[in-house]
Amino acid sequence: MIVQFLTYLRERPAMLKWILFAYLGFALVFDFFADRSGAHFWGDHIIGFWSMFALLGILLMIVLSKGLSHVWLERGTDYYDK
């Protein structure tokens, strides 16, 4: 049953994409109504701050770590066996 459900979802990537976008919209709308009385810093007052933070942060980390790997850290899997 679970397998059938997952296969059903897997065959409909467009639907999954819209579910993701709908969720993102919900997350942003929810932020309008959040109680900001316990704010720690300026970012807490900007609506959608954490959205941008997560999106840019992850993109930055992917670019940074993959870049670091390509120019410096990457070796063959048998590097230490030689």
């Binding site: 397998v3 997952l6 993701l20 997350a27 929810f30 959040a34 109680d35 704010a39 720690h40 993959k66």
Partner: protein, 588 residues
């Protein structure tokens, strides 16, 4: 009160481990594997606040010191012991179970220890028991990784011991209590380094992602729970409020995540995430406020469960397929749906989804950083948490169970006992998220913390959602490549090669040159001097002493001629002397 040592929960596991082969002989190993951890879970409820105090060689040792802090850790350690043992029920080798239990015993012993010597004894027991969990995989890489693991831990243990000795010399007291950052000297910092090695704080962390992916499937489940979290306990006990830990913890949280982007082996990704998650705890210990310490304990409790769950999920895949690299897996959801669900629950919990354990524990550390006005630290931790979601809840399940390409593997679903183990951990992950008071009531300080505020929810919804979006956009680029990435273990893996090369080539060559020089020049010179001295001794000194040496030589020669060396002549002479003596005695 030496007898009260027998109520020590570590004793239950040690005796349990020793009796395992016996139970195996009577086909009752599986029952024993459940009974012993259950006994320990019951036992820890009835521990007095102090027991097992022993005087040994002038030192006051305390094997049992129980307070609220100890209790949280004892609770989760014994709970994980039963989950891990059930997960490993199908493993027939008693040795593997015995190693796991001795390892648990070491962890419990350290947690209960009231003095540094007892800490040290159990600390070493942990290292030496857990290395067998790596070696039992019996592959060449595991054997090698095990040796590196034990060497690193021996080094850490020696640093700890040096610190303990110096600490004793300074204060003449071995009791394991909180150290104030103002009074800390070199001794205390050595102890701190010893603890930090086990907590895998960079740059002394590389043993962890080196060894854990090479351990046995069940071994890794135990290892991910005990070594680092016992170190976290030791840090909480001794080093709360040390500022250096705040910075190192936050760096650690990001370091683990960055390296997890690069790893291809599923358990190596998880291993780097242990570093990241323990980073939160180390950071919380450094902040040191009541709320931070509560957060550390809660996070350690939650972390052991979801990390154990993730290692069980990925371990099940390795057990059933024999593969661990993301680039060689894919499409398993049709064959291992239960494992998929449990792994995803673990991934959700570690990323701090609302209604899971990570949400209610991680946020306490984050909030304490915020309340302490440490903005950059808080942002670093939040970024690490976004990265965690990306890996453990998206990358690992996607590439193992779905993936861009089907691996063509058709494995069976994990064994029933593995599923039971995973179910228990998954249940706890959700239970703690829904009913956080269960955990909060155990914490060392009273808690006035509510994780389910609308702002915290809004923050989490956005971070998780937009991390998902970033992953979706970059899905082509996050594909793991089958490569090894350098980490600081390079220094002792390649560094030793360099050392050996230097020893073989320049050092060995210069050694040979020096010995040649000595043979040709030095030896001749020495011989000439010796001859000169001998001539002087013979001709000069002897002449001065009136030829006495020559006299001795001459008389020695005469004595030599007198001694014929023939036994019958000696006996004859002896009998003759005896005869003469008798005649003298009788007749005179």
């Amino acid at each position: 009160m030496t007898s009260s040592i027998f109520m020590h929960p570590a004793v239950i596991f040690i005796v349990g481990a020793m009796l395992l082969p016996l139970f195996k002989k009577f086909n009752a190993q599986k029952i024993w594997l459940v009974v012993v951890p259950l006994m320990a879970i019951i036992q820890i409820r009835y521990l007095p606040t102090s027991f097992g105090t022993v005087e040994w060689m002038g030192f006051d040792l305390q094997f049992g010191r129980v307070d609220q802090l100890t209790k949280v850790f004892l609770h989760i350690f014994t709970l994980m012991a039963i989950i891990g043992s059930i997960f490993g029920l199908h493993v027939k080798e008693s040795g593997q179970h015995a190693a796991a239990w001795l390892y648990v015993a070491g962890s419990l012993g350290t947690t209960l220890a009231g003095d540094y010597l007892t800490v040290f004894i159990f600390w070493e027991l942990m290292a030496f028991a857990s290395v067998f969990l790596i070696w039992y995989r019996k592959r060449r890489r595991s054997i090698e990784a095990g040796y590196r693991y034990i060497l690193m831990h021996t080094f850490g243990g020696l640093v700890l011991l040096a610190g303990i000795f110096m600490h004793y010399q300074n204060v003449h007291d071995l009791s394991f209590v909180a150290i104030s950052p103002e009074t800390a000297t070199m001794a205390e910092y050595l102890i701190l380094i010893g603890f930090m090695l086990n907590a895998a704080v960079p740059p002394i962390h590389a043993w962890l992602p080196d060894a854990y992916p090479e351990a046995t499937v069940t071994g890794a489940v135990f290892m991910c729970a005990f070594t680092t979290k016992t170190a976290v306990y030791a840090l909480v006990r001794g080093f709360a409020g040390f500022e250096v830990l705040v910075v190192m913890g936050a760096v650690m949280a990001l370091y683990g995540v960055v390296y997890a982007f690069l790893a291809n082996d599923a358990r190596r990704i998880l291993a780097y995430h242990i570093i990241s998650q323990v980073g939160y705890m180390v950071c919380g210990v450094g902040i040191g406020t009541h709320m931070a310490i509560n957060g550390v304990c809660a996070h350690a409790y939650a972390h052991i469960l979801y990390k154990g769950l993730l290692f069980m999920g990925v371990g099940s895949v390795i057990e059933m397929t024999g593969r661990s690299k993301l680039s060689e897996l894919g499409g398993l959801y049709k064959y291992m749906p239960a494992t998929l669900i449990f792994t995803v629950i673990g991934g959700m919990a570690i990323s701090g989804f609302p209604l899971t354990s990570g949400f209610i524990s991680k946020s306490m550390i984050m909030a304490s950083a915020g309340a302490d006005h440490r903005l950059i630290i808080m942002l670093m931790l939040l970024l690490a948490s976004a990265g965690t979601f990306h890996h453990t809840a998206i990358k690992i399940p996607y590439f193992i169970f779905f993936g861009p390409n089907d691996s063509g593997l058709k494995p069976k679903e994990a064994h029933w006992n593995m599923q039971v183990g995973m179910f228990m951990a998954a249940f706890m992950c959700i239970f703690l998220g829904v009913y956080p008071e269960f955990l909060y009531d155990m914490l060392p300080y009273s808690v006035g913390f509510n994780p389910y505020t609308s702002y915290h929810l809004a923050e989490t919804f956005q971070i998780l959602g937009f991390t998902g979006l970033a992953s979706y956009l970059m899905i082509k680029y996050i594909k793991a490549h089958d490569v090894a990435n350098l980490d600081v273990d390079w220094f002792y893996r390649r560094g030793t090669d360099w050392f050996m090369w230097t020893a073989r080539n320049p050092i060995s060559a210069s050694n040979e040159w020096i010995s040649n020089v000595y043979k040709n020049v030095g030896m001749r010179f020495t011989m000439a001097v010796a001859r000169a001295l001998s001539w002087f001794d013979w001709e000069g000194i002897d002449w001065a002493l009136d030829g006495s040496a020559r006299g001795v030589v001459k008389s020695g020669e005469q004595v030599r001629q007198f001694q014929t060396g023939k036994l019958q002549q000696y006996i004859g002479a002896a009998v003759a002397v005896l005869f003469i003596v008798l005649i003298v005695v009788v007749f005179i």
